[in-house]
């Protein structure tokens, strides 16, 4: 019963992950400028990858394989934002304009 449940859950996770991956890819194509595309990318990094890996974990159960998957997901979580950050910085340094700075405090009051 619970085995079936776990299976089911893992399939769901994998499918969802896959779906978000594809959506991210579409975003990568559809979105108009570099800085918006970063968000599409982070969709595939922060959503797709964890979901799929989690699904796989449920597949493999309490084994070293799971541990490796854990390492994998931790590593991705540490690196992918760093990569995105470096990329954005480089782009700005390279002369891409992320857009004008809006007055944040005004926003908060409004």
């Amino acid at each position: 019963m619970s085995a079936l449940l776990i299976d089911l859950l893992s399939w769901v996770l994998i499918v969802v992950g896959g779906a978000f991956g594809v959506i991210g890819g579409i975003g990568l194509l559809r979105l108009p400028d570099f800085f918006s595309r970063i968000h599409a990318a982070s969709l595939t990094e922060s959503m797709c990858a964890p979901c799929i890996i989690a699904g796989l974990m449920l597949q493999s159960g309490m084994t070293l394989v799971t541990v490796k998957l854990v390492f994998l997901v931790i590593f991705l979580f540490l690196t992918s934002p760093t990569a995105a950050h470096v990329l954005a910085k480089a782009a700005i340094h390279g002369g891409l304009d992320p857009g004008a700075l809006r007055d944040a405090d005004a926003e908060r009051r409004g």
């Binding site: 579409i26 995105a84 992320p98 857009g99 700075l101 809006r102």
Partner: protein, 196 residues
């Protein structure tokens, strides 16, 4: 003796490994801890206990430590491993945030009209430790729809996919939670490393 378990362990180690009465050497402790962490990683990844492989493991761990020491990435400051432990209570909330914003971004990407309004804005970070501030910046980047462009002092420059999603950040919910997580171990007497 008071202090976090790691610190207590460390003090013990330092007393055993060094001649009595010497003041506790934090950097050395961090080395030992790092070494143990590396060894653990190796074991978990290889899962083999053949003497040859263990020997190789030892060699590579020592090599890593040597390199770390040459690059002096290991200093008296608290070890990221423990830093990571502090933020455990914060992770679930972050995960939920990620899921929510993912759905939102996905919606915007898929909807034919593509309702996006890219924005750049600044928020103020209230964390005292560098680690804390890094956690905030990375959390922002991790959550789809927002990315940290630049950190200078306590001001974070953020790019968002759409105006509507930034309210949460401006309210500083995430910032507050991180600061709390940071503080949560503080009460247990963590290292006082002021803002840099």
């Amino acid at each position: 003796m008071r202090g976090p378990p790691g610190r207590i362990l460390a003090r013990r180690l330092s007393f055993d490994l060094m001649d009595q009465g010497r003041p506790l050497n934090r950097q050395f402790v961090n080395f030992v801890l790092m070494g143990l962490a590396l060894a653990a990683v190796w074991l978990l990844l290889s899962g083999l206990l053949k003497p040859l492989l263990l020997g190789l493991a030892l060699i590579s761990v020592l090599l890593c430590l040597w390199l770390a020491q040459r690059m002096d990435v290991v200093d008296a400051e608290n070890h990221p491993v423990w830093a990571a432990l502090r933020y455990v209570p914060y992770w679930p909330w972050l995960s939920v945030e990620i899921v929510k914003s993912s759905v939102d971004v996905a919606r915007r990407v898929l909807s034919p009209s593509m309702p996006i309004s890219p924005t750049v804005f600044e928020i103020r970070a209230t964390q005292r430790t560098t680690v804390g501030r890094v956690v905030l910046a990375n959390s922002i980047t991790l959550t789809p729809g927002t990315v940290t462009l630049d950190v200078d002092g306590d001001r974070l420059r953020v790019h968002a996919l759409s105006r509507d999603t930034i309210q949460g950040l401006l309210d500083g919910e995430m910032d507050r939670r991180i600061t709390r997580a940071e503080g949560s171990l503080q009460r247990l007497g963590a290292a006082k490393d002021g803002p840099t």
